[in-house]
């Protein structure tokens, strides 16, 4: 084995090592524990509102059970904000400038 081959071998070993360590670290630190899962289920059971507090301009993204049929139209007149999915979120700062 020449120097280049040894270097490549060690490089792949290093990559594999980093990957395994990363997976082990994330598995122990970032994965959902049973306790977390229990809390999430309890909270959703309590409120009955399962949706995540995320938003992406899509309709019904937040608490879809209280959306209206007309919410699918972006210019629904019942809203104070400028688009239809802003029940849970702020409107755009740029769009709010009048």
């Amino acid at each position: 084995m020449n120097k280049k081959s040894k270097f490549t071998f060690y490089l792949f070993l290093l990559l594999g090592g980093i990957l395994i360590l990363q997976i082990l670290y994330l598995g122990s630190e970032q994965s959902m524990t049973e306790n977390m899962r229990e809390k999430k289920v309890l909270f959703v059971q309590l409120t009955g509102l399962p949706d995540l507090a995320l938003y992406s301009n899509s309709n019904y993204i937040r608490h879809r059970s209280l959306s209206l049929p007309s919410d699918i139209y972006a210019l629904d007149g019942c809203l104070r904000e400028y688009d239809s999915a802003t029940y849970a979120i702020n409107d755009s700062t740029i769009a709010s400038l009048k």
Binding site: L26, A53, L66
Partner: protein, 391 residues
């Protein structure tokens, strides 16, 4: 012995990669970025799906809402007794909840009312709140709500403006645990009575009804019966909710598909460039190798090793970068597709899910294609006579 890795060919392949210098680096960089992007996208969607699926079984079995002129309207509490008379229904709970627009910060809070003295609720709340206990004059808030309130100098209480213009002062009793931030970020939980006061909802009305069915098989039948009993009711079963999750992901998939197509397209341009033939220098190299006695098989093996080293290196590096990007750095830029531009956005701390399907998918979409794109043109040249190639 024939299939054993030929270390000399491997060394030659390494030398060839290093000789090509900038070209090898460019391909490795593009390949790494591509696999990192694809893997990140799949990691994010998988983790969010996992988050949603975790709580999917905790969904109410049936939600009954009243509609008036196609708009959701308050429902009469008397409907609870009517529903309880239906065979199959074991429990009906009248919920009071809604959105409160805090104009100062331009955000909407989700307010949910609970019966604070019911043992079941106090036990549940105790598990999901860091400190503090709910009382008739206090509320529990999500961490996003706390930040927004703090920025408006509401540290210990918040003044809600009631429909009649008067103010309802509610103390902040506690903040929801950071473990449930994705669910509770914009939520405020308080007693039903306080909520009725803030929203101006009468005692005889509720926002909607949650129906519990004794036999899970009967959910759809019961939902049908409720629809017949209340023709203007909007009856939502947990299956409808699950289906709407799918719709969300179909929408998300559209965004991702666009990114995916761009990424794949870039990759295929590189592949096409490689497929379209070897450079004259590379052809001469193959010709010389053949002239000094290399067989077609040896040339192909060498090219295989060459492409395998580059593509595997890029793939592994891409996966490592994607894992760090999504789970350690919380996916900057890409997370905006999900959380938008809201001032009430949660930390994008999604749970780590090791999805081998994703890893295999990205692997098979990239590594074998690249290897094929390297070997096929080499095979075309290697099968020619050596003097034809050199000349």
């Amino acid at each position: 012995m024939k299939n054993k890795i030929n270390i000399y060919l491997m060394e030659y392949a390494l030398g060839s990669i290093l000789r090509q210098g900038h070209k090898s680096i460019f391909i490795a960089v593009v390949f790494t970025l591509l696999s990192a992007l694809l893997t990140s996208i799949f990691f994010i969607t998988n983790s969010i799906k996992y988050e949603l699926n975790t709580t999917v079984d905790a969904l109410p079995q049936i939600i009954v809402q009243n509609t008036k002129a196609s708009r959701v309207a308050e429902i009469d509490i008397n409907s609870v007794d009517k529903l309880l008379n239906l065979p199959g229904i074991s429990n009906v709970n009248a919920r009071v909840w809604g959105y409160y627009y805090f104009a100062n910060a331009g955000v909407n809070f989700t307010l949910v009312g609970v019966d604070e003295f019911e043992e079941q609720y106090s036990k549940t709340l105790g598990n999901v709140v860091n400190t503090g206990k709910l009382s008739s004059s206090s509320m529990l808030i999500g961490s996003g709500v706390r930040d927004i309130m703090n920025s408006s100098y509401y540290k210990d209480y918040f003044n809600f403006i009631k429909p009649d213009g008067t103010i309802k002062k509610v103390e902040i009793a506690g903040v929801f645990d950071s473990d449930i931030e994705l669910e509770s970020n914009d939520m405020i939980v308080m007693s039903k009575d306080t909520l009725r006061e803030i929203f101006g909802i009468q005692e005889s009305k509720a926002t909607d009804l949650v129906v519990k069915v004794a036999n899970l098989e009967e959910i759809n039948t019961v939902a049908l019966k409720i629809e017949q009993m209340f023709p203007n009711a909007r009856v939502i079963t947990n299956d409808d909710m699950k289906l709407s999750y799918e719709n969300i992901f179909n929408y998300k998939s559209g965004i991702f598909l666009a990114l995916f197509v761009v990424a794949i397209f870039t990759f295929f341009i590189i592949i096409y460039d490689k497929m379209s033939g070897l450079s004259s220098e590379q052809k001469r190299e193959v010709g010389i190798l053949k002239a000094i006695g290399w067989r077609v098989e040896d040339v192909l093996k060498e090219k295989f090793y060459e492409s395998l080293i580059v593509s595997l290196f890029a793939y592994f590096l891409g996966v490592i970068l994607a894992l760090a990007y999504v789970y350690i750095f919380n996916a900057p830029l890409l997370r905006d597709i999900f959380i938008g531009y809201s001032d009430l956005k949660p930390l994008f701390k999604i749970s780590f899910v090791l999805d081998f399907q994703t890893l295999f998918l990205v692997f098979f979409l990239s590594v074998p294609i690249y290897i094929a794109a390297t070997i096929i043109p080499s095979w075309k040249v290697a099968t020619l006579e050596a003097d034809d190639v050199i000349r």
